[in-house]
Amino acid sequence: MTATATPQTAVSLQQLAPQITPKVKDGDLATAQMGLIVAGAALIGVSWFLTDHFFLSYLVGYMGVLGIVLGALFFVMVQHITRAGWSVSVRRLAENIAWTLPVMLALFVPILIGFDDIYGHWTHADPSDHVIAGKSGYLNKTFFFVRVAVYFAIWTALAWYFRSNSIKQDETGDPRASLKMSKLAAPGLFVFALSITFAAFDWIMSIDPHWFSTIFGVTYFAGAFMSFLGFATVFLIWLGKKGYYRDAINTEHYHDLGKLMWAFMVFWTYTNFSQYMLIWYANLPEETSWFQYRLHDGWGAVGTILIFGHFLFPFVFLMSRHMKRNKLVLPIGAAFMLLMHCIDMQYLILPSGLHGHVTEHSGEHAAEHAGEHAHGFAAEFGEYLGTIDASDILCYLGFLALITGVTMLHVRRTNLIPLRDPRLGESLNFHNI
């Protein structure tokens, strides 16, 4: 109430911290930006020729990087709703990453083109399959496309709102903008949570239309937010080496980004194990067969890789504050988590897309074929390498490069940090106990 009654403009950056570079120099990083966009497009293009399941590879890359973009949107809203001080100097980058959503919408088009390749299990379902028939009220193409539009409308509107208001505040310095944004962050997070959950159901879980897991959206979100934090860390440290962000984002901020990344890595494990244990305990064929398919064709090795690479190793490796405060170790850990995120997407998408999907007879099928898969990690891993194509990692790298390039475009056009956010001073002087 007091804030609205007597609006005061926040102090300018010149008063607060005159040494900070507020913007990327004209023309600087333009080559990197173009190079990344071209390389990204090229990698995705080349993938077309390297595989017979291009659209599934495309979805692996797309969902992996969409997670980063949505993670950025979540980050922005969480900072507003908690009225966080520490993150102000990091927030502009997140706003810019989230504003790649219109590009992500355009990049959704190939998924529509290859729709039947990806979602054939329900678009071309056996008419006698009454389980899929029973779900047709939700799983039909028309409603599916309507939902795609709704999700993107929600996300794009939120990304636009928070970014444009924050940029406007760079000019006006009006602290009421911060209050306004923290108010919208609450309903924003609510619709965000629902939309990312249903998007994960629609775009990944429905590849295997018989199978269902109510926690699935949360597991996707956990990996998504973790990979955003990893991506932001690598991006900021890279630009730091180019001389930007340096005075505004320091070890303290990296430490916090690392803490959050570590926490959401553990959260990913928590939700995934929650999903696994209930299915294992209940032991119902319609649920367990999803994991049965993930024991064949080398996917068992990937499950092991995820347990160790997506949890045990980073859990120990990044636990110490000294590791998170080291500007060489942290980005290496972050890049490693980005790789694990790709393997996680492969694990979710490819086994269902490439081969079987859960059917009414899955239980009997699994029982008959139990023990047929390769044994031993090395043998399984070899089988996995034979199952996937180079495109299953190249598409992801392509999307990463592409979205980094587009982010760079926004970063070059806007101020590097919210220059007149009322909490900027708090962020610049942020200090971990």
């Binding site: 194990f273 696994y276 244990m277 294992w280 305990y281 032991n283 636990m319 110490s320 504050r321 200090h431 106990i433």
Partner: protein, 188 residues
């Protein structure tokens, strides 16, 4: 407890615990801490109503070993839980339930997690107690005439007598010279 119990204590303890100085602001105590360390004092401490960021570094305080205590306790919790469940379920009284092995690792994870958290939490609390030599009902520093304001609006620096550089006349003078007021020598 009668008042007479306390009399011998007050007359027999004459050893010096250290010297304590008062400061008016967080900034003052922060800069004084810097100068204190620069002058070569090592057994020093700051007492403030709220955390003063960065003052630990200024006093050259080493990082707390509490993290290691918590990690060890957490790891003990993991081992204890696994050993307990393995012994109960697979050795002492094996029961086959719904086709699962007597010792099936997925079912042990929640308990393992809980016991790890429990022991980590207890380790954090009681480890902190041990490192701070708590519980104790009295500390010599309470004898300082204005120290009660440490929970309100005053900031204090203390130098213990065990500091190699401690001198009962030079140290108080130095604390005064860096802005300290109410500099008092505290008896143990």
């Amino acid at each position: 407890m009668t008042t007479t119990d306390r009399i011998p204590q007050m007359t027999t303890t004459t050893a010096t615990w250290g010297v304590v100085a008062e400061f008016e602001s967080a900034a003052a105590v922060y800069h004084a801490a810097e100068k204190l360390t620069e002058a070569g004092y090592t057994r020093t401490d700051a007492h403030t109503p709220f955390p003063v960021h960065g003052i630990d570094q200024k006093l050259n305080h080493r990082e707390s070993s509490l993290g290691w205590i918590v990690v060890c306790c957490g790891f003990t919790g993991i081992c204890l839980a696994q050993a307990m469940m393995y012994w109960m379920n697979a050795v002492d009284y094996p029961i086959w339930v719904s086709g699962k092995l007597p010792y099936a690792w997925p079912s042990t994870i929640p308990i393992t997690f809980e016991l790890m958290v429990l022991l980590s939490g207890l380790g954090a609390v009681f480890g902190m107690f041990a490192l701070n030599k708590l519980p104790r009902l009295h500390h010599p520093i309470f004898a300082h005439s204005t120290f009660h304001r440490v929970t309100d609006d005053r900031f204090f620096l203390s130098v213990e007598a065990t500091d190699p550089k401690f001198d009962s006349s030079a140290t108080p003078q130095f604390l005064q010279s860096i802005g300290g007021t109410n500099v008092e020598i505290i008896k143990d």
